[in-house]
Structure formats: C-alpha cells, structure tokens
C-alpha cells in the first residue's frame, strides 16, 4: 500500500470544513462547559443542601457513564421525551453537559483551595458574596485550576470524535468516510491523528503560557 499524498491534497477542502466543525463544537462546548460547570460549583457551594444534593447526583451520573452512551440517549432517545435536536446542537449540548460535570469538580476544588482568610479579609472590608466571588475567588483560583482545566479542554477535544456517531460532520466522521470510500485508511487516519495532535499541542502551549503569566499571583506562605 502506498502513501498517497495527492489524495491528501484533493480532499483538503472537505477536511477544512470538517476541521471547522470540530473546532466550533469544541470551542463552544468548552465555553459552555466552563460556564455551566462554574454555575454548578457555585450552586453546590452556596445553594444549601437543596441544591447541593441534586447537583451532586447529576455530576456523579454524568461522570459515571460513558460519553458515547449519554450522546446516544440524548440524540436517539431524546425524541421520545420531546427533545428533537439536529446533530450539531445535540452534540454541543452533550459536550457541554459532559464537560460541565468535570469542570464543576475542578472549580469546587479551586474554591476550596482559596484560603478562608482571604475571604474573611474581603468580608471585613465590606465585599458582599458576588463581589467576593468575582474579585477574590475567581482570580485566586484561576491559577490553581488552570492546569486541570487545560487538561479537561484537551480531553473534550478528543471527545468531539465521539460526535461522529450522531452524524455530526466533524473530522472523524468525514475522514473515516473518505477513508472507506477511497480505501485510503492509512492516509486519512494519519491526517486525523495529526490534526488532533496539533490542536492538543497548541492548547497545551497556550495553557503553559497562561500559567507563566499568572505565576506572579502565587500564594506566599509565611
């Protein structure tokens, strides 16, 4: 079997489109998951038992079941309970909820790592809870949760490949389709791996860069 570079060139436009879909679902999925995950973490921390327990259960169920099955249930089971979504919105929703469960745990740990004294000092000068979260807790925990968050974002990037099973026209679906149409599995899978690896490398670099930028905020221990 030969490695056919001409084939790679000829399928480039199609690949670019698929790459766009992957980037888009990943980008919006991560943003959605961070926002939802943060809301869950805040709800669990400050919402009392009535909010904490149901949210805890949701997080446990989502973390305890495979993404593939969640996505199947949402896309193919959704219509039975009146949720009919197109592939891309369904994929985005699935990715957001799945990611949010993990991000909420990352943020929960982040909240707990902010020294209580820093919060007390803020209370003493009159900041209310939203101000404390916005001005003290978020900036202080950013540094702490950054490595875990970058990791999670990378995992979510690779999970976008799973969206192919609900026919989202992203990289994995498109490339494997090309592969089976043209019997060019080696070329297509090689390209696929290259794409993901490039993106992961890039986001890892970005994460490192931000860590360095934020390192001056590190805590002083006396």
């Amino acid at each position: 079997m030969n490695f056919d570079t001409n084939l790679i060139v000829s399928i480039m436009p199609e690949l670019a489109r698929a790459f766009g879909v992957t980037l888009l679902t990943w980008g919006f999925g991560v943003i959605g998951a961070v926002i939802l995950g943060f809301m869950v973490a805040v709800g669990r921390r400050y919402g009392g038992a009535w909010l904490n327990y149901p949210l805890w259960l949701c997080v446990e169920v989502i973390r305890g079941t495979p993404f593939l099955i969640q996505l199947f249930l949402l896309y193919y089971g959704g219509p039975f309970v009146g949720i009919s979504l197109d592939p891309i919105p369904a994929g985005l929703l699935g990715l957001t909820v799945y990611g949010a469960a993990y991000f909420s745990e990352i943020f929960r740990a982040g909240f707990e790592a902010v020294p209580p004294g820093h919060v007390e000092a803020a209370e003493c000068v009159g900041l209310n809870r939203p101000q404390i979260i916005r001005r003290i807790m978020i900036p202080e925990m950013t540094m702490l949760v950054l490595p875990a968050s970058v990791n999670m974002a990378i995992i979510l990037l690779k999970e976008t490949a799973v969206l192919s099973i609900i026919t989202v026209p992203e990289l994995t679906l498109v490339i494997s389709a090309i592969g089976s149409q043209q019997y060019a599995f080696v070329e297509s899978l090689f390209l696929l791996a290259l794409f993901y690896w490039g993106l992961v490398e890039l986001s890892g670099r970005l994460g490192r860069f931000m860590e360095v930028r934020l390192s001056k905020y590190r805590f002083v221990t006396t």
Partner: protein
C-alpha cells in the same frame, strides 16, 4: 457617660459541643488601646473574631458604638438576625488585621488597599488609589505600592494589611495576633505602626503575645483563661500588683524569658 466602642454582653460561643467562651462581659472604651492576653486556647482570638462578626455568637450580644452587631434583642428576648445590609453597615466601623495578613495575592499593595473603596464604595479608581496611597504612606510603604504580596516581607505585608483596613476609615481597629507569624526583627516595624495609630487616638483591640507592647501601649488589659475573662483593668493593676494567681503564673513565664521591661 460615653457609649463604649464595643460592649460584649453575656457572650457564649460554642463550636459544636465544645464551649470556648463561657459568658463574657467586656467593654472596650473609646479611643484607647485594649489588649487581650492569655494562654493559647483561652478564647481570646475567638472573642476578637466575634467582635468582627467573623464568628457568630451562640448566645449573648455585641454592640458596636451602641448598635447591635449581627443580632439584636428580639421581642421574646431571643436574638434576631439583622438584615445583611445592616450587618455590613455596622461592620464597616471595624477594621480587622489578621495573624496571616491575608492579603490578596493577585493584587498589588495599592490594589489591596484601594479594592474596597472601588468595589464597595464606588470611589473612582484614581481617587481610590490616591486615598490608598495616603494610607500606604502612613505605614511607610509608599514606595512599595506597586509590589505584589509575594514580593514583600512579612512585616511589610502586615503593614499593607493595616493600611487596607485603615483605608475605610474605621472607628475601631481589631488586631488578631498581628506579629505572631513574624520574626522578632520584623515585629518591631509592625508594632511601631500600631504605636503611632494608638497615638492618633484610634480605638484598638489587640490580641497579642507581645506583653511588652501590652504593658507600654495598652490602656486596658483583659486576661482570658479557658474561655473566661479572669481580669480586666489598667496595666499598672495587672503588671505591678498581680492579684490573680493564674495571671501571676502566666506573666512569670514571660518574665522568665527576659521581658524585664515590665517591672
């Protein structure tokens, strides 16, 4: 007769099953330095934290300049919790300084001091920083305004923390072992700032192991042991003719360590 700056009435504090304060009655006079001393675990820090409403009293009431802090007497004599805005208003008369400084690591010294002015009081950034700068000058750190806490020594951090509390122009300053996490060399610079604050007539409550400071600057000394107020009075009554055996014993351990300045 003037209203006391702080008056503590029948304060009981329990953490779960453990009762750490067994009914404290104490008045902090206006414009004076009151020092609370006592062995570790005597409840002095808890008492101070109750005065800052960082701990809520299990029973009893606390008044700040005559206004109830956190809880007010209810119709059936049972204390009722005041609305959050009211609690913040009363708390704003108090400045608090912690043993661990508790500066916010992501803000510069100037940012730490001006934060509440900007966020809570809506003061314009330029004006807030101007006012913050005045406070940093007062503690001798104007030239360190742009430094982050991690770039400052412990003593400097504590002085920034004092400036942060002062920026809101509190009527009362509470100090919770302000020098306990500093080495002796850095202790002096913090105590000097506190001395000059006292000279300006600030009402101060200081929980400290610095018996020397208590003796020379304190105008009222309260000695706590095992959650009880054993003794409260002017320093000469405490240091010159100790009358309580446990207080004698407590002070002896300090004298043994060479704190001869007390005599």
């Amino acid at each position: 007769m003037t209203t006391p700056a702080i008056s503590v009435k029948g304060l009981i504090k329990r953490f779960g099953e453990v009762e750490v304060l067994h009914g404290i009655d104490l008045e902090i006079p206006q414009g004076q330095v009151s020092c609370m001393i006592g062995p570790s675990g005597s409840g002095k820090s808890t008492l101070l934290r109750c005065m800052a409403f960082l701990e809520e009293a299990t029973e009893g009431l606390i008044y700040i300049n005559g206004e109830p802090l956190g809880f007010a007497p209810g119709p059936q004599g049972k204390p009722v919790r005041l609305p959050a805005a009211r609690i913040r208003a009363v708390r704003s008369q108090i400045g608090m300084v912690f043993q661990q400084f508790n500066l916010w690591p992501h803000m510069t010294a100037l940012g730490n001091v001006s934060e509440a002015l900007k966020t809570v009081h809506g003061v314009r950034k330029s004006e807030a920083e101007e006012r913050a700068m005045l406070q940093l000058k007062k503690v001798g750190l104007a030239e360190r305004a742009g430094h982050y806490p991690s770039q400052l020594s412990g003593g400097q951090q504590q002085r920034v923390a004092i400036a942060r509390a002062l920026a809101l122009e509190p009527k009362i300053m509470l100090f919770d072992e302000p020098t306990s996490s500093l080495d002796p060399e850095l202790t002096g610079e913090v105590l000097n700032v506190m001395r000059s604050l006292a000279a300006d007539g600030m009402t101060m409550v200081v929980v400290s192991h610095e018996i020397g400071f208590a003796a020379s600057v304190g105008q009222q000394i309260a000695f706590l042991e095992q959650g009880r107020l054993v003794f409260a009075g002017p320093p000469r009554d405490v240091f010159n003719k100790p009358r309580h055996p446990r207080l004698d014993q407590f002070l002896d351990t300090y004298l043994d360590r060479g704190a001869a300045m007390l005599a």
